[in-house]
């Protein structure tokens, strides 16, 4: 269906246009095109060309997402750059406590030799998915924003900032937590603010981390150390928003001293590698995930607290469910942009997302708390979990993304 000209004759008609070339948008395009080479799929992204190469963040990629990347022909390329998380330690402490009692330890494997997660630099993930997209013949239009779109009976017309227009059967918005396309579609989002920000930075340290991830529940909020390749770690550090702003704007020495105070000295001397940045934290949930000829995926549908490291993994779940829904509809000859097809995706994803959003919200409220009885209760709870191997393995499997009504790609199967 890629050859017919639209009424205006400016551009060929597409089957699917994806707005946003982050890992969610890229993975969606690759998943669809790989399963249905007959579909004309393109991506449009507002960010300037090569801006993605300057992203210094890293993401936790759960086992299910690894299986999906491997099914998409990407994981072998990512693997040499990925740091497996081989164990995970969770503590609950006051910042000044010299020794932090360990309440929960996980041996991080979902199956022998398969760690429950890897840490991957965003630019590695993005670069690999772009390479695969190019291989499949997916066009990426860069540095051009979507200005507006109109939904017709059988297609949606998308007007771009360079005053060209595109016509597609379906528009997928993967344009992040503050999705402009979500607003244009008139879909309301519910947002809870935590008054907290997550400070993200990369540190180099003297001694090896041995693949261990640490999460310390400090009074201001969770402080996570996530192992990267080499003697480096990614820090996700939660503070009240005004404290976070002050910290990232303070001079290097002050920042490193404050960081060391929380990080501890078990890995030796620390050096901050990039400019720390603070991201306001909140829980954003779109009221609907779909509208006629329109679907939301990833953070555009649900921005959750990064505490459980599930942002990328939830996004990949959306992609896997959306791709499977569309591919099955296309194999039945159905119109892939029709609302009844899209509603199957919405039913599939919404419950899981709300559940995960609420869980991480509750976890955060519970753990960003210095009130004595609350601390005692949660420590009792964590201690209890640590002594119950079956419950622990349930948590591990939840964190690995291997629970729930799983789309085929996340099980490592072709659609």
């Amino acid at each position: 269906m890629g050859e017919t000209e639209t009424a205006t004759g400016m551009h060929p008609t597409l089957d699917v246009l994806i707005a946003g070339a982050g890992y969610v948008g890229l993975a969606a395009a690759v998943s669809l095109k790989q399963a249905r080479p007959n579909l004309a799929v393109a991506i449009v992204d507002a960010a300037p060309k090569d801006a993605w190469k300057r992203d210094t963040r890293a993401s936790a990629v759960a086992a299910a997402a690894c299986r999906m990347l491997s099914q998409l022909g990407c994981w072998n390329e990512i693997l040499p750059e990925a740091q497996p998380i081989t164990d995970m330690v969770i503590t609950d402490s006051r910042t000044a406590d010299p020794v932090r009692p360990v309440y929960l330890t996980f041996d991080g494997e979902v199956a022998p030799g398969e760690p429950f997660a890897h840490m991957v630099a965003n630019k590695v993930m993005n670069g690999t998915l772009r390479r695969r997209a190019a291989e499949l013949g997916i066009d990426i239009i860069e540095g051009v924003a979507v200005q507006a779109f109109e939904t017709g009976i059988a297609s949606v017309t998308i007007h771009l900032a360079d005053s060209t227009s595109l016509n597609a059967r379906l528009l997928v918005a993967a344009d992040g937590v503050n999705s402009r396309l979500r607003d244009m579609a008139g879909i309301k989002a519910v947002r809870w603010e935590y008054g907290q920000s997550g400070i993200v930075c990369t540190v180099a340290h003297e001694r090896p981390h041995n693949g261990r991830a640490e999460e310390h529940f400090l009074p201001a909020g969770p402080f996570a150390i996530l192992p990267l390749k080499g003697n480096r770690s990614s820090i996700v550090w939660t503070e009240r928003t005004e404290d976070a702003e002050r910290l990232v704007n303070s001079d290097e020495l002050v920042f490193e001293t404050e960081l060391e105070h929380r990080f501890g000295l078990q890995l030796g001397e620390l050096r901050v590698e990039d400019k720390p940045r603070a991201w306001p934290l909140g829980l954003t949930l779109a009221r609907d995930f779909v509208a006629p000829r329109f679907a939301l995926a990833g953070d555009a549908a649900h921005g959750i607290h990064p505490i459980a490291g599930q942002g990328l993994n939830l996004g990949f779940k959306d992609v896997a469910a959306l791709a499977e829904t569309l591919v099955e509809a296309d194999r039945l000859g159905q119109d892939i942009g029709a609302l009844d097809v899209l509603q199957r995706y919405q039913i599939w994803r919404r419950f899981d997302t709300v559940q995960m959003g609420v869980t991480t919200d509750v976890l955060n409220r519970l753990f960003s708390n210095d009130f004595g009885p609350v601390r005692a209760m949660r420590d009792f709870g964590l201690g209890l979990v640590d002594r119950m191997p079956r419950l622990k393995s349930y948590f591990i499997r939840q964190a690995s993304g291997l629970e729930g009504d799983m789309p085929r790609l996340l099980r490592g199967e072709a659609i």
């Binding site: 249905r36 080479p37 007959n38 059988a154 000859g333 609302l339 009844d340």
Partner: protein, 250 residues
């Protein structure tokens, strides 16, 4: 539509047809039950046609080269998917309005379908033949079921197949398909189905074999209220589908 004929069309009529087309194709509107029912019957048709004609259902346009007739096509809910799967499709409906609506929507969707306001009898008498005849949810509405089955069977090419979908005449069907769907859930307008006109599978199969057709498969279709989805089942007490084949005379 050729430029020359455009001026003769009444704009008010076109608007009325557009509104009706929007209604037919609104998955949450009046035809919601049909939209909900569509995936399960599409999957059955696709898989059985692919098996019968040796096609790979995962390929794009697996029905290329097959001639398919949909009798009682309505707004084209089955015709458009068949055309997208690559078939050469004729959609027939006795209602002129339905045919205009279906034409309008097909033009919007960019699919090619030969829609005709005609009846199965007229098509059969004109000698039309098809590889696949879709005879879905019509028989329970006709006045002479045996004549209808005989005429529709004539439309099938030798070695071709015909699908017949309908509702069983059981107490369960009276409860679910008539009382439940028409009176309680209001999925369908009251009076859509008359109990006495419903057809039991053994009656249908007898009519088909009288018309020279051979039954090759049958399946029930049931509604799963938890998943809000129709699925295939061995339970043929309410909705069911029968696949028949016309054997070439040796």
């Amino acid at each position: 539509m050729p430029e020359a004929t455009r001026s003769t069309i009444d704009t008010a009529e076109v608007e009325r047809f557009s509104a009706l087309a929007a209604e037919w194709w609104n998955p949450n509107g009046k035809f919601r039950p049909l939209h909900k029912f569509n995936p399960v019957r599409l999957a059955y048709v696709r898989d059985q046609v692919a098996a019968r004609f040796g096609r790979d259902s995962h390929q794009a346009r697996p029905f290329e080269g097959l001639r398919i007739l949909d009798i009682g096509c309505g707004g084209g809910l089955l015709c458009e998917p068949m055309a997208r799967l690559g078939a050469e499709v004729v959609g027939a409906d006795a209602s002129e309005t339905n045919i205009e609506v279906a034409k309008l929507h097909a033009a919007e969707s960019g699919v090619t379908i030969d829609y005709r306001a005609t009846t199965a009898e007229a098509l059969a008498d004109a000698g039309e033949k098809f590889d696949v005849v879709l005879n879905m949810e019509v028989i329970e509405h006709v006045s002479d079921p045996q004549l209808y089955i005989t005429k529709t069977s004539e439309l099938v090419k030798p070695d071709g197949i015909m699908f017949v979908a309908t509702i069983n005449r059981t107490l369960k069907a009276l409860g679910l398909a008539i009382f439940g769907a028409e009176y309680v859930l209001r999925w369908l307008p009251r009076g859509t189905h008359q109990f006495s006109k419903l057809v039991r599978p053994e009656e249908l199969e007898q009519m088909l074999s009288n018309a020279g057709m051979m039954i090759t498969d049958r399946t029930g279709v049931t509604y799963n209220p938890l998943a809000d989805r129709w699925q295939r089942s061995s339970d043929m007490d309410v909705n069911y589908m029968v696949l028949t084949e016309k054997r070439r005379v040796a």
